[in-house]
Amino acid sequence: MAYRWWLRIELIDPFKKRFCVIMKKRNQTGQRHSILKTRWVLAGIGAGILTVPASTAAALKPEMEHPKVIVIGFDGMDPVLAERMMDAGELPALDSLRKKNGYRRLATSNPPQSPVAWANFINGAGPGTHGIFDFIHRDPKRQCAPFYSAAETVEGEGHFDFRKHRLQLNFWPFNHAPTQTLLRREGVPFWHYLDEAGISSSFYDLPANYPPSESQHGHHCCLSGMGAPDLLGTYGTYQHYAEDGPVRTKEEPGGQRSMLFFENEAAKAFLTGPQDSFLETPVPIKVEFKVYRDVESKTAVIKIQNHTIILKEGQWSNWLPIDFRLSLPAPIPDEHIAGICRFYLQEVSPNFRLYVTPINIDPSDPAVPITEPEEFSKEISSKLGLFYTTGFQEDHKALSNKVFKDAEYAAQAQIVLDERIRLLNYSLDNYEDGLLFFYFSSTDLQSHMFWWDSELDHPARPKDEAKKYFEHIKDIYRKADGIVGDVLETHGDSALVLIMSDHGFTNFKRQFNLNTWLRDNGYLEPSNATSIMSDVDWSKSRAYGLGINGLYLNLKGREKFGRVKPSEKDALLDELVKKLEAVRDVDGQVVIKKARRSDETYFGPHTALAPDLIIGYRRGYRAAWTTCLGDMDETVFSDNDSAWSADHCGDSTEVPGVLFSNRPIVKENPALIDLAPTILSLYRLNKPTSMTGENIFNSQEKP
């Protein structure tokens, strides 16, 4: 994803016809926000006018008190572990809710992947309404070209070349279309109905909501969560510098490595920033920094821009604002965008190692909006200082790539958790009424790396260490319980408190390569194919796997090189379901609990990109890493030897989430899709026809 900046001429004096050429970093959200601000101004004017239409008046009375509803989302909190810990008395706050009939397992989405699950929560209905079926979708017009399902960057059209620069001019007669990032989640989010009714709602770190969705009436604010990018336009790219690093900067999934060469204990390095997108051939903006190390005291001094920091081995710096200069043709002054990062000194000698967090969007001066309204992030930052703004804050890639050791990852994740607890306290301090939603990722991204609830060998670490780190997960649950206890203590009497997770967790011991299986069973040709992206003969292939749970038919009229006739579709799907559910591991274990046909699972107006089958793995199994992007391995099964040793992308019935409430839950088998209609009913709002969920309390009951 690239951010586009462009020139704009604005009429600054309409009487003298004076024009000003200015740079803009505007996008759709920016435009919307100016509308929003205008609306607020109008609201202020409206307050002084007695004859306001009833509907407008209803929308313009934020002072009216509404019931308080607080929803805390712990991503991936698992009911099996939570119940076990509650039974052992280790989660007193959550257990107190359970004892008051305020606990149920919460049915998750199908498939149980976070973007799908949270979109279910947001729409109060299944994927057929929001159009998100997996982390990864494919474009059938380009056969199987993959893209991220929740947001899409649409390249701009048109430009104006000037010397070495390429400018987009969004005014007549050029009317160039800027590059935009669009939220692909379809349907109406439930807060829209609250917004419309003049009920305030605040969402912190809400997943599947980047770019932040607009507020039509000014009663909704949110900070984007999972899906929000870093300043490089990725989901988080750390930078690692070491004496034994590669001479030429080397990219790896989620990061890049460079070598540091010390001369007189001083070294020079460059921090890679966003692309200088005004250039004809964009190149990354580099910011030089110097490192001076003192081997004796095991410290290093880092000088970057106007910052000087000193770190001891094992210490983290505070957030540092970094200025990145975008060059423009003279005489137009260069533009600047702000990023923030933290340095972590891992080792001084014998092998100097320095980690730099992904360059986050500066919340005090965001290069692109990460909140709705745009000023919301500045407001938070003015009170709390700088904080992580990328969607994935725990740097699991650094652990997977062995940049971090286990303990270092745990320490970094703790920084994230501490930061988020401060943010939660801020949100509670500024909460008056309406809906407050707060999301914690710690229970998910740490579980992925440290969960191991088994006596079997862990894929990547010795048994005792696996046990130790599973204890760490239990500690996180205890901290989560502490957070819930604090919220109940301060707001339990005045607010309805819901604690929920989008799915549970399970070990990820064995990998199943769906594409290899399809190849070995003659659905993908030729028999020596290695990837659906490169060497598959589509004229002979009938099905392929993409994403974590998706299986697609190579359907004629839909896929670019489709081969399966629509009339053959049903029989082929039935055949695949039968064969897949019969798959056994080498030790005879069942691998796939259920392969579901999407035409029997998804209902709604946005099913066009749905896979044809959703593969629901049993606990302990998951799609192989390689198959997610279409690659095939030599064998169908393999051990998962990644640090990412636990997952939830199996069958939806295998990994339900949790739901706690400080009010008895009436519905026996609540699901994620029930929460939105429940919240609406608490505000006496009717359930929209698009929602399929039901009130988990009692629809007749009033708050």
Partner: protein, 278 residues
């Protein structure tokens, strides 16, 4: 020579401003800045009156008025207007020339006062628990290794990291956390030498000496609160990275600009009563 003179003057100014320390600390920062700026404006106006040639300035101003009147009366006569304009510019330049002696006289005391005010309004003390960077600039002959340096243990601070030596820049760094509120003296051992640096901790309004400087004219004016290091001293300066203080009246911008604006307003307000021609 000049550096020694400024250092000596700073000693006097420190004594003078030391007397104001109590009243300044007792009132809010915005109030003290307003009062100090206003008084400064009046004092500078009086100084201007007695160090400038008021009679000559009066004559030049009359001349400007006459030329402006000429331009108004003969606005259709282009040669007269152009000539008058040139004469107005010339007179304005003369006004500047007449301002030079008072500016020269006032420059040094004004800078010294500005330095003293900077001790109050430039930075804020560290809050308890807050961290700061300490930078010690050393001076040692080329190729000589840095002397052993340490920050002596004190209840005022906790060392988080350091000393971190950077021989190529002849610098030593520490990161410290403020522990005990008050104005402390940090003790540093540099080889056989012991040196001190003032260290302010607290949440109230108190003077903050950012840097103990060397005998450098610029630094002496900017950082007057502490005795400078000798030129031959192995330590050339010790600086503490205090956070900037928010401008106390408007909440944004630089306090020096506020001081200029308020002192000008103060001066203009009393100008008619003191009969000063500017």
């Amino acid at each position: 020579m000049i550096a020694h003179l400024i250092s000596w003057l700073n000693t006097g100014m420190n004594t003078l401003f030391g007397l104001l320390r109590g009243p300044m600390a007792a009132v809010p920062a915005w109030l003290s800045l307003t009062v100090v700026s206003s008084v400064l404006g009046v004092v500078l106006l009086v100084l201007f009156k007695y160090t400038s040639n008021q009679a000559a300035i009066g004559r030049v101003r009359d001349r400007i008025k006459a030329r402006l009147l000429g331009m108004k009366l003969f606005k259709d006569n282009i040669p007269v207007v152009l000539k008058s304009q040139v004469q107005v510019f010339g007179s304005a330049a003369m006004l500047l020339v007449h301002s030079v002696p008072p500016i020269l006289v006032m420059a040094l005391p004004f800078c010294l006062v500005l330095g003293q005010l900077g001790v109050w309004y430039q930075a804020k003390p560290l809050e308890t628990g807050e961290q700061a960077l300490i930078t010690m600039q050393l001076f040692s002959p080329e190729n000589a290794s840095l002397p052993s340096v340490s920050l002596m243990p004190t209840e005022a601070v906790k060392i988080i990291a350091g000393p971190s030596r950077v021989p190529s820049r002849q610098q030593v760094y520490w990161k410290v956390r403020a522990i005990e509120p008050g104005i402390h003296q940090l003790q540093f051992q540099v080889g056989d030498l012991q040196v001190q640096k003032e260290f302010s901790v607290g949440s109230g309004f108190m003077p903050v000496s950012i840097k103990r400087p060397s005998l450098n004219i610029g630094d002496l004016i900017l950082y007057p609160a502490e005795k400078p290091f000798d030129k031959a001293s192995p330590v050339q300066s010790i600086e503490i990275g205090y956070p900037d203080r928010t401008e106390p009246i408007t909440g944004s911008g630089n306090w020096v600009i506020t001081l200029f604006i308020i002192s000008m307003l103060g001066a203009f307000a009393v100008k008619p009563f003191l009969n000063v021609k500017i």
